[in-house]
């Protein structure tokens, strides 16, 4: 594999102005496919979620999935797009074994949504508006595995195996207008844009939005032009950049590569590029050619989709609060400082903290646990904080124990380790590890409750004023704590509990 020359990012920025463009494919999480009733499920046995429509057998007829149309409208509305009064499907013709029909059913001249925008907030709070050209409906292709030769790489492969389970899965492709003016923040903006789209479709509930599963896939277009020139340079399109980090790196790399090409006086070749996560570089895919003549024509087997304005408004009413607005609201509700809130967002624990607060913790307690205890552990385990296995209920239980004085903060941290190690609930871990603060009132109160419950008549006598009867209860508590309790304190607590003044 040849290595392309690159300039340093700083030098590239000094000389050139980057223009970006993104095509983000979102797989919808409908129960069935776009045009067939076969299930839309990830990870099943190969070629079991297919029927005659997905396999492109002769004479079959596609029928549009109504829920997929509804989800597409939701995405369009969330991206501030206009929803077409009428739109149609088109055939995109090409020969490749991932598409058994030899065409992909897509939308061409009439997308369902168009002319939108998304305001992207960068890490320091700067807001950058990205214009959306269109969002159109189409279907996913099957999955190819290249075998023989160097494993997994198409170069040198001897044959390919095809699984059509993914063929026909509903997709919405979101296409931006050219993004100008990002300057040196282009890589950061790229990442933030894809993150925002992913967040929106997840929040709408229309996609599982897992990039590692390919639910959200990004093609990143990059071109450079000398500062001050209006005309765009020639672009490259880096395909299937499938993590947020990779989007940032790929854009940065392509800027550096283009700059070196332009510096050498050569023209940039308009081509697709493949992203390689291991080396964080791209390699040449193929140049634009005859093969890109897709001969689109209107799909004769499908009738137009004409979303009534009533239907669109009905759907608009069901849209959840947009993520950016939700963040504003939560920040205010929780009373976090700008910095605290940004740290929470960047750590990716906004949902977790919200759930923990809903479960009964205060905002500051929830933040303390997630940011102080869990994020670090997740980093060590190399998983997302939400995937570590800490439930809101666990945090609420732990914080109650701390507040009640049963355990101190240091012990609470150890109890959390125990819970994560599978030793049971916090209470069980405290019990098993013998972590309770015995000198504290917590365990005493439990023993007192038990003793009072065991001798209700005695409790009644004390309540009635016969304070001397307390000896029987104190004895019970001392027995239960194996003599480790302070008898004087026990006596005080019993009287307090029964509302009697000695």
């Amino acid at each position: 594999m040849s290595t392309d020359a690159t300039l340093s990012f700083e030098e590239a920025m000094e000389k050139y102005d980057p223009v970006l463009g993104f095509e983000v494919h979102v797989e919808l999480n409908t129960k069935t496919k776009m045009f067939s009733s076969a299930p839309n499920v990830f990870g099943d046995e190969p070629n079991t979620n297919v029927n005659e429509v997905d396999l492109g057998m002769p004479g079959v007829l596609p029928v549009v999935n109504k829920t997929a149309v509804e989800s597409s409208i939701k995405i369009g509305l969330a991206l501030n797009c206009k929803i077409a009064e009428s739109c149609r499907f088109a055939r995109k013709n090409y020969f490749y074994p991932d598409t058994p029909k030899n065409f992909q059913t897509s939308q061409y001249d009439e997308p369902i949504a168009y002319d939108g925008y998304l305001d992207i907030e960068l890490e320091d709070g700067t807001v950058f508006r990205v214009e959306i050209e269109r969002a159109h409906m189409e279907e996913d292709a099957g999955k190819l595995t290249h075998l023989g030769g160097s494993a997994g790489r198409i170069q040198g492969a001897e044959y390919s195996l095809v699984d059509y389970n993914r063929a026909g899965v509903p997709l919405v492709e979101i296409v931006t207008k050219p993004i100008e003016g990002a300057g040196s923040r282009a890589p950061e903006l790229a990442k933030a844009y894809v993150a925002a789209v992913r967040e929106i479709v997840k929040n709408l509930g229309v996609s599982d939005a897992k990039m590692e599963r390919g639910n959200v896939r990004c093609d990143a277009n990059v071109s450079l032009r000398p500062h001050g020139r209006e005309r765009f340079g020639i672009r490259s399109e880096t395909k299937n950049v499938n993590s947020l980090r990779a989007v940032e790196h790929a854009v940065r790399y392509e800027i550096q590569r283009h700059a070196a090409v332009l510096d050498s006086g050569e023209p940039v070749i308009q081509e697709t590029r493949h992203w390689h996560e291991d080396t964080r570089t791209t390699t040449s895919g193929r140049a634009k050619s005859d093969a890109d003549d897709y001969r689109y024509f209107p799909e004769p087997d499908l009738v137009p989709v004409v979303p009534s304005r009533e239907w669109v408004e009905e759907i608009r009413q069901t849209l959840p609060e947009p993520p950016a607005e939700r963040r504003k609201r939560l920040k205010q509700d929780w009373g976090y400082s700008d910095l605290e809130f940004r740290d929470v967002v960047n750590a990716g624990v906004l949902d977790e903290i919200e759930e923990t607060i809903t479960a009964g913790a205060t905002a500051s307690v929830a933040r303390k646990w997630w940011m102080g205890e869990i994020v670090g552990r997740a980093k060590n385990a190399d998983v997302d904080p939400g995937q570590l296995g800490v439930t809101p209920a666990t945090i609420v239980e732990l914080s109650k124990m701390v507040e009640a004085g049963k355990i101190n903060n240091k012990m609470a941290s150890a109890v959390l380790d125990g819970v994560l190690a599978g030793e049971g609930t916090p209470a069980e871990v405290v019990e098993k590890r013998g972590l309770a603060v015995v000198s504290d009132d917590g365990p005493l109160l439990e023993a007192i409750d038990a003793a009072l419950a065991a001798q209700p008549d005695v409790a009644e006598k004390i309540r009635g004023g016969k304070v001397q009867a307390i000896g029987a209860i104190v004895g019970g508590v001392m027995k239960a704590t194996r003599g480790q309790a302070d008898a004087g304190r026990v006596r005080e607590l019993i009287l307090e509990k029964l509302g009697v003044t000695a």
Binding site: S37, N47, V63, F95, H146, L161, V303, P304
Partner: protein, 98 residues
């Protein structure tokens, strides 16, 4: 007469994965032009008052509810495949795409 030259036919043949000899290309260049002209007469018949349509029947919004229907087993799916391996269709490696 529609202008369709030999290069246009060669281009179409390549896109459609049809192998054509030099003689066939020459002959088809002439024939295709005649065919296109024949189809073109439809637009003359329609006149200005008839809008273009991609579908002959005035229908829209033909939808299916999102309910799972029938599927094939892998064995059924592969029953017509020239070759298969590990419950998947086996195809020659194709190098010019990703």
């Amino acid at each position: 007469m529609a202008a369709i030259n030999r290069d246009d036919v060669a281009h179409l043949a390549r896109l459609a994965h049809i192998e054509m000899s030099a003689e066939e290309l020459d002959r088809m260049a002439g024939e295709l032009a005649v065919i296109v002209d024949a189809v073109k007469s439809v637009s003359e018949a329609a006149g200005d008052g008839v809008p273009a349509t991609s579908h002959p029947i005035p229908l829209s919004n033909v939808f299916r509810e999102d309910v799972v229907g029938h599927t094939f087993t892998a064995e059924q799916a592969l029953s017509g495949a020239p070759d298969s391996d590990a419950d998947r269709f086996k195809v020659p490696a194709i190098l010019d795409e990703d």
